[in-house]
Amino acid sequence: MKSLKVCFLISVLILSLSVTVFAARIEISSPGEQTIPLALTRLLPIGVGGAQPALAREFQEVLENDLEMSGLFEFVDPAAFLGDAERLGLSRTDIDFNQWRMLGSEALIKGGYSVSSGKVTIELRLYDVITQRLLTGRRYLGNSTDVRKIAHTFADQVLKSLTGEEGPFSTKIAYISNRTGHKELYLMDVDGYQPIRMTDHRSIVLNPDFSPTRKEVIFTSYKNGNPDLFRKEIYTGRESRVSLKPGLNIGGRYSPDGREIALTLSKDKNSELYLIGTDGTVHRRLTNHYGIDVDPTWSPNGQKIAFVSDRRGNPNIFIVNVHSLEVSRLTFEGKYNATPAWNPKDDRIAFARMDNGVFNVFTIREDGSDERQLTFGAGSKEHPRWSPDGRFLIYSHDLAGEKSIWIMRADGTGARRISAPGGNDIHPAWSVRW
């Protein structure tokens, strides 16, 4: 290294002596700032509708929360906002970019709203402060109850224009809660707002999964006395049984193309993984072992399925090739590895490992390398599931006896609770973008 240094310096010297202008080669291998400084201004009233500060505040809260969760930004202190923040001018020529630049921001969000007869119009712009370029501009029309949804949708767009990949904030999370006294299926926003109960089985409802192609959820319910697999259309509420074989019909997971469902059946007196059609007909048996085989999760290309098996003694994660049915073992550390979830965008598999009676969330590559622990400490964190863009994980966190749904970034940072207190919330599942 030293000799390299010397060589470099000597060459620099020689070059600088021989030619007046020389090209120095420089490598910059990491950015000096690892967040984007963003100025998020208050939504201002446009036109004659009049000011509705509550609306503007709610919008701001939702948007800021989403953007904060993304981890991309460092917010420029709103207290430092100068004249331009209070000026409605949304177009490029109206904005004093130099001012924003002086404040150290590189991105700027400005927006306005108007309300007339219950309808809300919100117009938003995201600017690159440095190049003074409009990155995205959107106008949303909706009911006054849609403010949160509009904020989430715009947050998705902000991520899209700054990363190339749309955010997941306007999607939904399904989960199981016992707040009525029975375990029922619920649906909520990604930030935990607007929870809605979807079932009234007054039995035990478990482990939902979203269809990637239809607005539909599958789940297991004991409604008819046996753990059967149900399907429910989210907007019509129509419900039917997909698989009602004797014994277990559990852990249903739609294939990435939405044509098949992987699940555990025990119709042959032992839990095995099967592929069934969406009409419930058995297409294929995937495992053949006297041990327990549960918890399938599809690889993004639909060629492989990771699952939990105790075929080597303790529960561990294995991977089966859907075509060749070849099985390979994925996890070797720890004594209890369960609930795998394959990142829909890459080769990482999240799972929960129990150590001293406490589960924590880990990720590992498909080839078994680069295992990372994402959560730490007391209180089990179980049942991780990915956001459709692979940026975030949701899981069930047991805090002092009450389980709730939490969200964190894929690297384990930014963990926060999203489901409201008042019951045990488990088995989260993240919808795709519809």
Binding site: V12, G32, E33, L162
Partner: protein, 304 residues
């Protein structure tokens, strides 16, 4: 027992004997060849040779041939000490006679950019508050709501604009002063931390030249890196880009060109922002210079 063992040993030896020594020799030679081959310049290096990483204090002057020293040492601080303590080698400057005279010259200009910095330090608090307080009664929405006669409006607007402009100017100034002060403070803090020798000369670690300052190349590298904002949550894959930049002697970016784009739009955009922010270097360069900068994320830790 003994004899049988010896016999066996002899047998073994006889098996070894014929070519054993030669084999050993050849093997030794071959092993020696390995490092020779490794270090010999037979194979051109495919990778970009990574230049040494320097930590550069942006308060220090970029020079062509930096002397040995500490980048975190502050030139300004050193000078008052230089007079009473003529111990260190590079400091024959003040006492020494004419022959060395050209050297102090590059030293002198330093106080010019450096000196104004300490002044604003006590001020910023008082000044910074003003723009915060004032905008509240001023804001633009007011004229929109009232919307009286146009004359009134325009007069009002004019005054508002004037006030705003004044504020902005003040704010800009204070912001700039703040930044300089912060830079300065950071530099002082760093030098206080890292160089236990108070009179450490300004220079580069491993510097071989005779000028007080830091390598211009390292200076530009450090400056542009500081202007570059990119989040690891934006990264997909392993983006790499190569940019050519041409700076004039007074540190102005005359033109730049992407020699290779990464293909990752977010990454390339962030580089354009960094370059735009580096249009004017805070210090002059020893000469007009061209830089080929390779941007990548090798050192960004814990990527997704």
């Amino acid at each position: 027992m003994e004899s049988s063992r010896k016999q066996r040993w002899r047998q073994l030896q006889s098996v070894f004997e014929p070519g054993f020594k030669q084999m050993l020799l050849i093997s030794l030679l071959l092993h020696l060849l390995v490092p020779v081959l490794y270090y010999a310049p037979f194979f051109p290096q495919r990778d970009i040779r990574k230049p040494p990483v320097y930590r550069v204090n942006l308060v220090n002057k970029p020079v062509k041939n930096p002397q040995a020293g500490r980048p975190e040492a502050v030139a300004e601080k050193k000078k008052p000490e230089a007079k009473p303590a003529p111990k260190p080698e590079p400091k024959p400057l003040p006492p020494s006679p004419k022959p060395v005279a050209p050297k102090p010259e590059p030293v002198k200009p330093k106080p010019v950019p450096v000196k104004p910095k300490p002044e604003p330090q006590p001020e910023p608090k008082a000044v910074a508050k003003k723009p915060e307080v004032k905008p509240a009664p001023v804001p633009a929405p007011e004229p929109v709501k009232t919307g009286p006669t146009k004359a009134q409006e325009s007069a009002l607007e004019k005054r508002l604009r004037e006030i705003r402009e004044a504020q902005e100017k003040k704010a800009q100034e204070t912001a700039r002063k703040d930044r300089l002060a912060a830079l300065k403070a950071a530099a002082v803090a760093e030098s206080a931390k890292k160089s236990p020798i108070a009179d450490a000369p300004v220079g580069m670690i491993g510097g071989k030249g005779d000028e007080e300052g830091v390598s211009a190349v390292a200076f530009v590298q450090e400056f542009i890196q500081q202007q570059w904002s990119f989040s690891k949550y934006q990264a997909a894959g392993n983006p790499q880009a190569e940019v050519k930049l041409f700076y004039s002697t007074d540190g102005e970016l005359l033109h730049y060109k992407f020699l290779k784009k990464s293909g990752n739009e977010a990454f390339d955009d962030s580089l354009i922002r960094a370059i735009t922010k580096s249009r004017q270097l805070p210090q002059a360069l020893p000469e007009a210079m061209e830089f080929h900068i390779f941007f990548n994320l090798k050192d960004m830790l814990d990527r997704r």
